[in-house]
Every structure is written in C-alpha cells, then in structure tokens.
C-alpha cells in the first residue's frame, strides 16, 4: 500500500494570493516574502507551512517524501490567511524605513517583548499600527507584533502586543 507522506509542493494560485495580500498589508512586495514559495503538505494537516526554496533545493525535493521542513521558513497558510513566521521578520527587517511596517522598541521594551509581554508608551520608540515587524534598539528583528492605539479616559495609550517573538525558541525548549 502506498503511504501518504509529507512532501513539499509549489503553491496554488489561491495560496499565492494570500501571500500577496499579506505582503501588501505590511508594505512590501510579495517577492520580498519569498521567491520560490513551496508548501509542506502533510496528510490531514490543518495548515500548511510555507518555505522559500533556494533554486538548488527545488531540484532535490521533487522525489523526497517524509519531508519535515526545507528551505527558508516564511510562515503558514490557513484557508483564509497567511501567518508570518519568525525567520521572515529577520529577513524583512532590512526594509524598515523602506515601506515595511515596523515598530522600534527600547532595551526594556525589547526585553518585555521577548518574554511575550505587551509593551506600552515610553518603551515604544517608533510606532506603527497593525501587524508589523518588531525591532530592538539595534535595529534587529525580534518578532512580529500588533500596534494599537487605545483611547483611555484621560489619554491615548500606545500598545504593542506580541504575536510571535524570538523568546519562543527558549520557551519551547530549544
């Protein structure tokens, strides 16, 4: 009996459109996200991990089965949206100031963010509303966050909610 095994495949047009929508929403071109996006298809899987494959790898993966990961991980696709991954924040961060939506935190803010905690007001050096790449005071990506302005009784508070942060590498245990 043929075993159905995880494999990498090129994205469908509908899947590519989800990546295009995401790229536009953060202010970059789709090719900045991935040049050769491929999905890891796992039988029965609820979502698809998406990897950008270097050209040399495309030649290799065709006949490979039981693939667990391959290429540069850029994020995952559900039926309705693309969810960016941590390596993509690092790949895109050089575009901060060149159209990419970015949030800059000070040292204390970055520490809180890397613990998966919300960062507010004085620790947010440069703010952007919506999903954005979050960078520390060295201009280096530390994750993805959502910027929000919240109107309180006497003031407007700026908040950065972590979506994915590099501290995940520790919290997941290695």
């Amino acid at each position: 009996m043929q075993v159905k095994a995880p494999r990498l495949r090129a994205l469908s047009d509908a899947e590519l459109r989800l990546i295009e929508e995401f790229a536009r929403s953060i202010g970059v071109k789709p090719r900045a996200v991935a040049l050769n996006p491929h999905a890891l298809e796992v039988p029965g899987g609820a979502y698809l991990d998406v990897f950008d494959l270097p050209t040399a790898l495309i030649r290799v993966i065709e006949d490979l089965r039981f693939v667990y990961a391959g290429g540069y991980y850029v994020g995952s696709l559900t039926k309705s949206k693309f969810v960016p991954g941590l390596p993509l924040a690092q790949r895109l961060s050089r575009l901060c100031g060149l159209g990419l939506r970015c949030i800059l935190l000070d040292l204390y803010g970055a520490k809180r963010f890397l613990y998966g905690e919300r960062v507010t007001n004085e620790h947010v050096v440069r703010f952007s509303e919506g999903l954005a790449v979050v960078v520390d005071s060295q201009g280096e990506a530390i994750g993805w966050g959502i910027g929000r302005r919240v109107r309180l009784k006497t003031r407007v508070e700026v908040r950065v909610e972590p979506v994915k942060d590099l501290g995940w590498y520790l919290r997941r245990g290695g």
């Binding site: 990897f51 790898l57 290799v60 667990y68 990961a69 390596p87």
Partner: protein
C-alpha cells in the same frame, strides 16, 4: 596484560570484543570513579597507565563553548556584544569559530544574541568534527543523524548556505529541535527528512556523508556523568551493530570519489575502530584519509588480539585527558572513483 584466545579458534570476534572480563584493578577504579567495570577494564587494556588520567579528566566539567555564526554576524561584533554583557570568552585556538565561555552573567542559551541566531552552543570536539567533513559550496551533503543540528548547521555556515543539505533524523522531539536550530541560525539550503537513515531514499548520490552515529555517549561523561553507568555491555553490542549498519549504508550512498565522515562521541573502541574495521570488510574501493588538520591520537590498531583493518590506523581519537575535549572517534573515508 590480559591474554585472549586466538581468533583462529573462534567463529565470531564479537564474542571476544564484547566479552565481560574484569580485573581487580578495574573493579577498584570502577568503584572509585563510579563506572560500570567493563568500561574501566577497556581503558586499562587500551591505555594502561593513562587510564586513570582519563578517569580523572572525566571528573572535570566541560566548559561551555559557542560557535559564532558568522553567516549572521561577524565574530568580533559578537565577542564585543557578549563582552559588554559581562561574558568572559576566549577564542579556542584550534576552532576558527569557537569561543570558550569562562564566565556568564546569564545562561548562554538565553541571551538576545542567542535567540537571534548569532551563535550555537557546541562542544569543542563536535565542532572540530564539523570542520573535518570539508563540505564545499554546491555539494550535496547528507547528514544521517542530524539532530539537534550542531554539525548540520556548521555545514551550512561553512559553505555560506550554499551546500545542499539533506538532514535525516528519526525522532519526533529531536527533529523539532533540528528545525528550530536551523531556522534560528538563518539557513535555507536544507531539507529535513523525518525517518531512519537506513531506509531513507536520496535524490542523488551525495558528495559527502556525515555520520555522527548514535552512540553510548561515553565521550561526554564530563557533561553527563550518568553515562558512566548507562550502557551495559549488551546495550553496547546493539549500538555497535547499528553503527556498522549505518556506516555501511553511508558508504553505499556516497558517490564514487565522495567522502564519508564517521564520528562517534565515545571513547569505546567498540564504537570506533571496531565499527570501521567491520564496515570496511570486503570493501576494497574505500580508503581512509589520514586527518592532518589536528593532532588527533592515532586510532587503536588492535584490541584483545584482533588486529583491525590497516585502514583503521588513519582514523583519529580525541581524549579528554589529552585534548581537553570530550572523547570522540573520527574517521574520514573516501570511496574511490
């Protein structure tokens, strides 16, 4: 010296190599240092007076060593950042990217620089083995037991992410760690295959195969003292069989002219010389290349009366009491084209 029966009268050399025989001296030292006696017996048979030096060295904890990931940051910048944070680090002379961590204000695995993938924590012997593979840009490299990804990521770092790496790992938890590490360190030219390297099919014959074989871990007693008593002689025999099968598989997969680097993090001859000896039996189209990049100890040429294949003498060993590293066996084999 122990006297072992002649092989001419035996049908299976394993019965001698894996025979449990313990002298009073081995028993005494095993009790003092907390080892299974057969391990100490082997040290005495192979190393003589040096055996106790090895046992003493294994009492010293391993220092933390990091491999600077110069694919993402310059090593001088990393050293400067860690210095500002209060780390005391010193370059390891024989490791181009290695730094020993003498003092650390926080866990070296919890800094922002670690999370950003600017370094990997890797024992020095393991890092040295990574250099010996000698992978070049554009080559297809197979890592048959890749998790957690120390040497796999080193292959990609040393080739600036331009070797194509097939990283194989059968265990679910370990494959997760492998992926996490390769991603954190910023690499892209790899495929992780979850499976047993004995059965995995490869798209083309690899130029290089790295087999850092699953082992008893007897070489990392400095890091994990439980290894002194963890592996029974019966377990060791099973580990040895698997290592032989894996090395034979590696030699069957590599392209003619290609290199297989066999390594085992162990001071056991049963996981080193005897594995290579058995695996090369009947294979005339494989040569062992002497390792000249580092002053390894020469591999043992015989054990318990069994003289190993001549090619085994080109292999090398790292010892804690000689090199200050973990214990390792390394052998670089080239399939003739």
């Amino acid at each position: 010296m122990a006297h072992w029966p002649s092989y001419l009268t035996l049908t299976d050399p394993d019965d001698v190599i894996f025979a449990e025989r313990v002298t009073k001296e081995a028993e005494r030292l095993a009790e003092r240092y907390g080892y299974l006696p057969y391990i100490v017996e082997r040290y005495l048979e192979l190393l003589g007076n040096e055996a106790e030096d090895l046992l003493e060295s294994n009492e010293l904890p391993m220092p933390d060593v990091l491999r600077c990931n110069d694919y993402k940051i310059s090593c001088s910048e990393l050293a400067s950042r860690l210095g500002e944070m209060g780390f005391a680090i010193a370059k390891v002379p024989f490791l181009p990217h290695g730094y020993e961590i003498a003092e650390s204000p926080i866990s070296p695995g919890a800094t922002h620089e670690y999370l950003k993938g600017y370094y990997y924590l890797q024992d020095p012997g393991s890092m040295l083995v990574g250099y010996l593979l000698g992978a070049r840009p554009g080559e297809l490299v197979l890592d048959m037991a890749a998790a957690p990804g120390g040497k796999a990521s080193q292959v990609l770092q040393l080739t600036r992410d331009s070797a194509t790496l097939l990283a194989v790992e059968p265990k679910r938890e370990r494959v997760k760690a492998l992926r996490s590490n390769l991603q954190r360190l910023g690499f892209s030219n790899f495929v992780i295959i979850k499976g047993d390297a004995m059965n995995v099919s490869v798209p083309a014959s690899p130029d290089r195969v790295l087999l850092d074989a699953p082992s008893s871990g007897e070489g990392i007693i400095r890091k994990d003292p439980s290894r002194k008593r963890k592996t029974t002689l019966r377990d060791l025999r099973e580990i040895h069989k698997r290592q032989v099968n894996l090395l034979r598989r590696a030699l069957s997969l590599v392209r003619p002219g290609g290199v297989v680097l066999y390594a085992a993090c162990s001071t056991a001859v049963e996981e080193g010389e005897y594995v290579v000896h058995k695996s090369l039996t009947g294979l005339d189209d494989v040569k062992a290349e002497p390792i000249v990049e580092f002053p390894f100890r020469r591999a043992f040429e015989e054990y318990r009366g069994l003289r190993f294949d001549d090619r085994v003498s080109a292999c090398g060993r790292l010892f804690p009491h000689v090199h200050g590293t973990e214990g390792f066996f390394v052998c670089r084999l080239r399939r003739l084209g």
